[in-house]
């Protein structure tokens, strides 16, 4: 059987569960000055599963203080809206798209995505890019893999096998099996989900950003490489991909200087990972 073509992917996108409503709200709020805490609190409180995960995460964030957080309101007061939004966004995605079959474990994808999102937020804080956009784009950058796996699990597993056995980048292995990669597939899924253009660009550009001229694309590409370099998630097959010189230059990045933030990135990633239980 041949692999599904790029043109056929939009039909397969419908087979994936839709984005959780709270994720849609948080993504829309990125570009909306009128988004407010009350609406976010309403979205959170209307879903008991989200409240439960938020409280678990909030209690984990404050683990060293032996202080219990009992309500979403308390969590907001202690952690602030930005942290709450990050926790909700990540946990809603992780639990909605928790595919686990032999050979493909979405948890590993989300752990890597959380690593990229953490690097993206810190890089954004240092380079003047919107940190919330950076974090969200980092979390979503690999969603193309979910679509490719849904469209044809056997072909996706074949690409994963090639990636591991031949020690080649996954996107190169995908091209050899499907004729396109998860950046292309991610662009199609992000378009089907009506995500903002910035996030679509970040997803499409994250492995080869030079042709896109997108600031957020450059930032997510560098974050992808940095996350691998700091071994966030410690995948056994981890190998740092090639890094675009142009993307680094456009962001005004100097590694000897930015290295002062490596320890902070690791601390923030560990905190997040433990809080989310992944």
């Amino acid at each position: 059987m041949t692999a599904p073509t790029l043109d056929q992917l939009p039909d397969h996108a419908e087979a994936l569960p839709s984005l959780p409503e709270v994720v849609n709200y948080l993504i829309r709020a990125l570009n909306d000055d009128n988004a407010n805490l009350e609406t976010l609190a309403h979205h959170i409180n209307s879903d008991p599963a989200i409240v439960a995960r938020l409280l678990a995460a909030a209690n984990s964030v404050t683990a060293g203080l032996s202080k219990r957080v009992h309500s979403a309101g308390q969590a907001f007061l202690l952690l602030g809206a930005d942290r709450i939004a990050n926790i909700i966004l990540a946990s809603a995605l992780i639990y909605r798209y928790d595919t686990h079959t032999s050979g493909f474990n979405a948890r590993m994808l989300w752990q890597h995505s959380l690593g990229v999102a953490t690097c993206a937020r810190v890089l954004a804080e240092q380079t003047g890019v919107d940190p919330d956009l950076a974090f969200t784009s980092g979390l979503l950058h690999d969603i193309g893999q979910l679509l490719m796996h849904t469209a044809s699990p056997s072909h996706f597993l074949q690409a994963l096998d090639r990636h591991l056995n031949e020690d080649i980048p996954l996107f190169v292995a995908e091209r050899s099996v499907f004729g396109y990669d998860h950046c292309d597939a991610g662009r199609i899924l992000a378009t089907a989900w009506k995500l903002p253009t910035d996030i679509i660009d970040a997803i499409a550009a994250h492995h080869e950003p030079d042709g896109f001229g997108s600031e957020i694309g450059n930032l997510i590409h560098v974050s992808e490489c940095l996350s691998h370099a700091l071994d966030l998630g410690e995948l056994p097959s981890n190998r740092v991909p090639d890094l675009s010189e142009l993307a680094c230059a456009n962001l005004g990045l100097s590694w000897p200087k930015f290295a002062a933030h490596f320890a902070e990135i690791e601390a923030r990633f560990d905190d997040f990972r433990v809080s989310l239980g992944i």
Partner: protein, 108 residues
């Protein structure tokens, strides 16, 4: 003999009261919130979380002997060489150098 100490970076919620700051904590404008050497109590840690401070550098006892440190350094260097295996472009080499240097300094 004074106990040897090392610097760890962690989220304020993962620190326990009584721990000592290794580096000053500044806000986004660069003003010092707490100076190096401050012993953090519960109220300070809670305030740091509320202010959105995501990571702090603290001093922890270092009970490792020289042989253990040497083993850890070798393991860290081996891991870096593994994840940077194969040919890479110049930008990747610069990242490689920065991460290797960071790993060595933070393991010592």
């Amino acid at each position: 003999m004074a106990t040897k100490q090392r610097i760890l970076c962690l989220a304020p919620g993962r620190a326990t009261p009584g721990i000592t700051l290794a580096r000053a904590i500044t806000d986004r404008e660069g003003s010092i919130l707490l100076s190096a050497g401050t012993v953090l109590d519960l109220a300070m840690l809670e305030r740091l979380i509320r202010r959105g401070v995501d990571a702090i550098s603290v001093l922890v006892p270092d009970n490792r002997d020289e042989a253990t440190i040497a083993d850890e350094l070798r393991a860290a260097q081996r891991r870096i060489e593994t994840i940077f295996r194969g040919p890479g472009n110049p930008a990747r080499e610069q990242l490689h150098a920065a991460v290797l240097n960071y790993r060595i300094e933070s393991t010592k």
